[in-house]
């Protein structure tokens, strides 16, 4: 950093008076792009949520969100996001523990991390196809369970086009993301801490409860928030899986943008605004916990 500073001062000295405007100009293309294609479009939606048909300021659009059908869409979206984030964290954590400190052979680690990189990016429409072909009514696992074990999961209330099915599908990119984030954190647990705890007479469970988990806690909670936002904003997987039969927020918004199903464009703005608020809070929580976790894990 200091080298860059001296370099900047050195190159700019002959033209000291022009230095400030020139340095600014270097960022102008990026700033212009971000403004035009990221920030202004978002602001357009946010301000649209607080404007009525005549252009005056109003809270009516946001208040209109609190109708039973829209509230239930938010509620099921939040439930799916919480369930898939929680299970993703849990399973991802257990698998990451296995490859870091759980005593699994070291050759497993690299392939698992590579696979996680692939799977965490394998979302969207193809993922929905894969789960339909596997857990749909004629899917491989459904048929095997029915024909070999006599278990009809559809008779037991499972449906790939429902809350449980969507949660199961989302785990395919949630678990790998958790593994990718938590593995470095687990690597950061120092061996000495465990040894010190054991020497002082702690059991393995006590070490986890009183040393390791408190250190990992910010990482775990932060990643939970990230996975939550990840699931909450996912449109393509849900749309390809359920069409519009399951009314979650992104699908409702998608249908609204395509064809004004809510009969009120400003309600669409409010719906999108609500999404930004939810993912914004989740990401804020993630960043906050992340800065806290960095104190220990260096």
């Amino acid at each position: 950093m200091t080298q860059a500073d001296t370099g900047a001062a050195g190159t700019a000295r002959p033209a000291r008076r022009r230095r400030l405007p020139l340095a600014w100009l270097g960022l102008a293309p990026f700033m212009l792009f971000a403004l035009l294609f990221l920030i202004l479009p978002t602001l357009q939606i946010v301000t649209g949520a607080f404007v009525d048909q005549t252009g005056g300021f109003t809270f009516k659009n946001v208040v209109n969100l609190f109708t039973p059908s829209i509230l239930s869409a938010y509620w099921i979206s939040i439930r799916i996001s919480v369930a898939s984030a929680f299970l993703g964290c849990l399973v991802g954590f257990l698998m990451a523990v296995g490859i870091t400190i759980g005593g699994l052979p070291s050759w497993i680690r690299a392939p698992l991390l590579t696979f996680s990189g692939v799977s965490s990016n394998f979302a969207g429409v193809p993922l929905a196809f894969a789960f339909l072909a596997t857990y749909g009514r004629l899917g491989l696992v459904t048929l095997i369970l029915r024909d070999w074990f006599g278990v009809n999961i559809y008779a037991l209330g499972f449906n790939i086009l429902s809350f449980s099915g969507l949660t199961l599908t989302y785990l395919f990119f949630q678990i790998p993301l958790m593994i990718l984030i938590v593995t470095p954190a687990l690597d950061g647990l120092k061996r000495e801490w465990r040894e010190a705890a054991l020497i002082l007479g702690a059991s393995g469970a006590q070490y986890w409860r009183m040393v390791a988990l408190p250190i990992l806690w910010p990482t775990l909670l932060g990643t939970f928030a990230l996975l939550f936002a990840n699931a909450f904003g996912a449109v393509a997987t849900a749309y390809a899986l359920t069409g519009s039969s399951l009314s979650i927020v992104p699908i409702l918004l998608f249908a609204q943008i395509r064809g004004d199903v809510l009969q009120d464009p400003h309600l669409g703005y409010a719906l999108a605004f609500g999404m930004i608020v939810v993912t914004g809070i989740a990401n804020f929580v993630y960043i906050w916990f992340r800065t806290r976790s960095e104190r220990w894990l260096k």
Partner: protein, 262 residues
């Protein structure tokens, strides 16, 4: 310690089973198009479908354009921030992370309202304009990954010294960018590029809402109307994602060799 290892194996196997079942299931399903026998009929139908070729070609072109746009936008910016405006780093970093906070569907909703035919910049008025808008949308989607990759690459080289050396040899800014900085962060740029490719190739939301004939909406259409072809397409899409990640691993392994010798 032994029980510990037993649980590790158990969780790993359960996890692996969860990931492997859909892959096997999809592959098996994609082979079942011909009644009573396994065949690659579904793949043949898909690959010879002119719609497939057209939409796939469109998405590949979009992905390449997005990569070029991303590189042109991100590399000079990240370089400039490191060289001249280090105090701006948190701001730029924050902006590049925004696409992770703002769902893509919200951004594209904003595009539709902001750049429609009656606005000051009517990009959605023509097919070319919409293509450009979609490319910009994809660039924002790829921004977090591209910027992170390039910034990590720049951290490994001494930007200040390289710039001064090039300048004292009489190089201008464009020469510095294309012949000094870019070759030095090429591996990072390539990782970002492959990731961008994997994201753009199957992207659905933006393309569907901007009404462009991309691969993602085509996949969705096939999924809604056919039985076996979607499974074949899912296998192909997974293969593409795998390929992109494999290439990232490959180029980053190449980059480690010279470093180890230093």
């Amino acid at each position: 310690m032994k029980t510990n290892r037993f649980w590790s194996w158990l969780f790993l196997l359960l996890g692996v089973a969860y990931f492997v079942f859909p892959l096997i299931g999809t592959f098996e399903f994609s082979l079942k198009m011909r009644r009573g026998a396994y065949s690659f009929d579904a793949y043949r139908t898909v690959l010879t479908d002119p719609q497939f070729q057209a939409t796939f070609g469109y998405s590949v072109t979009m992905a390449l354009a997005t990569i070029v746009m991303g590189v042109v936008l991100v590399v000079p910016t990240a370089y400039w921030v490191r060289l001249k405006l280090p105090s701006w780093r948190p701001v730029i970093e924050f902006i590049t992370l925004l696409p992770l906070v703002i769902p893509a569907i919200v951004v594209v909703f904003g595009y539709i309202r902001l750049y429609n035919t009656s606005s000051w910049l009517p990009l959605t008025g023509s097919a070319m304009g919409t293509n450009i808008l979609l490319m910009f949308g994809y660039t924002t989607l790829a921004l977090p990954y591209m910027y992170r990759a390039v910034d990590t690459g720049l951290r490994a080289i001494d930007v200040g010294t390289l710039t001064e050396a090039a300048q004292s040899l009489g190089a201008g800014w464009i020469t510095i960018m294309t012949r000094v900085i870019l070759p030095n962060v090429l591996v990072a740029v390539l990782s970002g590029a492959f990731l961008t490719f994997a994201i753009v190739i199957g992207e659905f939301t933006m393309a569907a809402l901007l009404n462009r004939p991309a691969f993602g909406p085509y996949l969705q259409l096939i999924g809604a109307n056919r039985a076996y072809e979607p499974a074949a397409l899912a296998v192909i899409a997974f293969g593409i994602t795998w390929l992109c990640m494999g290439l990232i691993q490959l180029v980053s392994r190449f980059s480690k060799l010279p470093n180890a010798g230093r």
